[in-house]
Symmetry: C2
Subunit: 414 residues, 2 copies
């Protein structure tokens, strides 16, 4: 492999380069029932209501003036008169007076004047419609006051927040019925390699089916992108340049996946460098597997050259492409998708030839005593093993394999 182009940078440095690009800003309106999740909020969202909009009991018990309970204990109980029994949907249209209480269930609206709830286990109903109370409470205890969750006028969710099923619940509770969200990212996918034929074809000797189109397309759709496929491009500079030109004018992000040829990458680099206003931001990243990755800007459009090996591609998609998609999509927390390596204990020896880096698929098993990784022995790049693996481990060139019971870092595949 010609290594002269490599200028290897760290993953954080690679991610930092994303900020030279501009996230999309075109927005659209989505109703809460029909919204596709996750979505990215396009505006700061303020509440026009208090949540809850009335003060409620947070426990089953008795709504009281907290002051009435002061000093109450087992030796010195306090007695209060029960004036109402309130269900969860009762409308308590009365004033609670000192010495009185109202039975409530969790969620009951509090009568005017009540400022706390005594939990039912600290009370005893006695004859004459009174309760005996053996615990003192402070004002605000066991209630949720009007606006405790969200106050009217408060910022509920900031622009760039990812809306998931939980945030949706908050919006619904506030009576917000539609939101402005950013549009989906358009990602162009270019697959190069003279040896490739469409997966629906029968390949001859010297030809293999293109599986990257399908794999990467489904990965991107899962990251909620719109994918535009530019088909298979032969290893021809002009042909590749033409397709890249078209794709950068139509997409927010372009991915180029080479064939299995290693020389391929320098070739992609050459074509990308040839554009006016093009800038190679990175060629090589300290990621194993996944080192020979390219990040370029052609005008304002980011272009990523993916490594050829299938296991490398999968890691690069998760570690570098997913955060770039989040960043370009306007996600405030775009760095969050960064997946950590998982520490696990090896359940078997892995032999490996010194002088050659290797990537081994593993099955993961969660036990009470920790995480265990069982290697799936395989030559690099076997699709069946990659399909079966829960994660991969990297063995650097200087090692002669790994030993059973050793702690390893597993990169989880999604």
């Amino acid at each position: 492999m010609d290594k002269k182009f490599f200028n290897v940078i760290s993953v954080p440095a690679f991610l930092k380069l994303f900020q030279t690009f501009t996230p999309i800003c075109e927005m659209q309106t989505a109703g809460l029932s029909s919204i596709t999740l996750p979505a990215i909020l396009a505006n700061d969202l303020y509440s026009s209501e208090n949540l809850p909009h009335f003060s409620r009991a947070a426990m089953d018990g008795y709504a009281v003036f907290a002051q009435d309970t002061f000093g109450a204990s087992e030796n010195n109980p306090v007695y209060l008169k029960v004036v109402h029994r309130l269900g969860v949907d009762s409308i308590p249209d009365f004033d609670l007076k000192p010495g009185q209480c109202a039975q409530v269930v969790t969620g009951s609206a509090l009568p005017r004047g009540a400022n706390g709830v005594v939990m039912i286990e600290y009370t005893k109903l006695i004859t004459g419609g009174e309760i005996e109370l053996i615990k003192c409470i402070a004002p605000g205890d066991n209630i949720m006051s009007q606006g405790d969750d969200v106050k009217k006028g408060e910022l509920v969710l900031a622009k760039g927040t990812k809306i998931n099923y939980r945030t949706l619940g908050l919006l619904a509770a506030l009576g917000i019925q539609k939101v402005r969200v950013l549009r989906q990212l358009k990602v162009g996918l270019i697959i190069t390699g003279n040896e490739l034929v469409p997966f629906s074809s029968k390949p001859d000797i010297g030809q293999i089916r293109d599986v990257n189109s399908l794999t990467i397309t489904h990965f991107l759709q899962n990251e909620r992108c719109k994918v535009r496929n530019y088909g298979l491009v032969r290893d021809d500079k002009d042909a590749l340049a033409t397709v890249v030109q078209q794709s950068i004018s139509e997409c927010d992000l372009v991915l180029i996946s080479g064939g299995s040829s290693v020389g391929q990458k320098d070739y992609t680099l050459h074509v990308l460098s040839g554009f006016q206003k093009s800038k190679i931001l990175a060629h090589g990243v300290a990621l194993r597997p996944g080192k020979p990755t390219i990040l370029a800007a052609i005008g304002k459009t980011p272009v990523i050259g993916l490594p050829g090996q299938v296991s490398s591609t999968l890691v690069v998609l998760q570690v570098l492409v997913a955060p770039l998609i989040s960043f370009l999509s306007g996600d405030l927390n775009w760095k969050k998708p960064l997946k950590p390596y998982l520490p696990a204990q090896l359940t078997a020896n892995i032999p490996s030839k010194p002088g050659r880096e290797e990537v081994i698929g593993v099955k993961l098993l969660i036990q009470d005593s920790g995480l265990y990784a069982t290697p799936i022995f395989a030559k690099s790049g076997l699709l069946k093993k990659i399909a079966q693996a829960d994660g991969v481990i990297y063995i650097p060139a200087h090692l002669e394999g790994l030993t059973k019971d050793e702690q390893v870092q597993v990169f989880p595949l999604n």
Copy 2:
């Protein structure tokens, strides 16, 4: 809370009960390009081809008879004649004879007779079209032989395998263009509570907007279920029984979410127990939060009664409902969705009243030194805090809070 119905069982015991139900078996055909992922394979799938279908170079270098290299070293180089230069898509229609070699790139088809590749770094091209070779290889080194990945007739994927974007790549490589998959699960959702109004309404005092319909529906859709909403049902035994009867006849699984009233759960239990052929399999699970969960069978249909608290509901959906969905969907690895608690270090003290269990939302931060959890201080059940949280931690009743720098177990929310 009336605890007399509780017979608390462990999470594994709860999951084991799922096996009293029968997974769906209705199947449909899906093309690889248009398939909705993830999907569950309905049949064992065998390969009708070898993968790769021809022997290929796994490294850049020279295809050789391995026997020709025996004894080669820096002090004792071997010389071979280069008879061809093969690109990645060349068709090597010739026999390699002893003493000959062919230059190859990664992916090149091997000429007949070649049984190994010497990596280019161990060779030197010398005048006269010969290479000098300083390393000995064994037969099979640095090549991928026909069928190394998948052999013709081999089981590729077993019935019940979850098809994701990686397995799809394997299918495409084998020329499989459509697969039989199990249909989506139909899940019925019943929301009860007199205090609830649709989220599109303006609630009065004593009323709150129903957010569970929306939240749970989107959760279920994300788990690739078809959701049938049975609307809001008042706290009326006959009304609830009628809706449950209808839902079990139309769905594969029914979820019942109560209002915020705690008494609600016993009420749901009472209605579920009242059916002929009904069996309460569990009422109470050792899960915090999430304890007051019901699992019932009405005839062959599983019914889950969800706890009322929003944070409890979210945990139960992830820990219990998601695996049940996987099991019923026919997923062979249905136990895999079990999410582990994540050990993290607290960044602040959390005060908590003894005698009361609490659930606190936390933000997670991944640092090189480990995982850190920052509490989002909140009364239980605040929707805004739940929407902001990356996970929750549970504080048992006997503790007076947790201390900064303490190790805690965080349940990650998705």
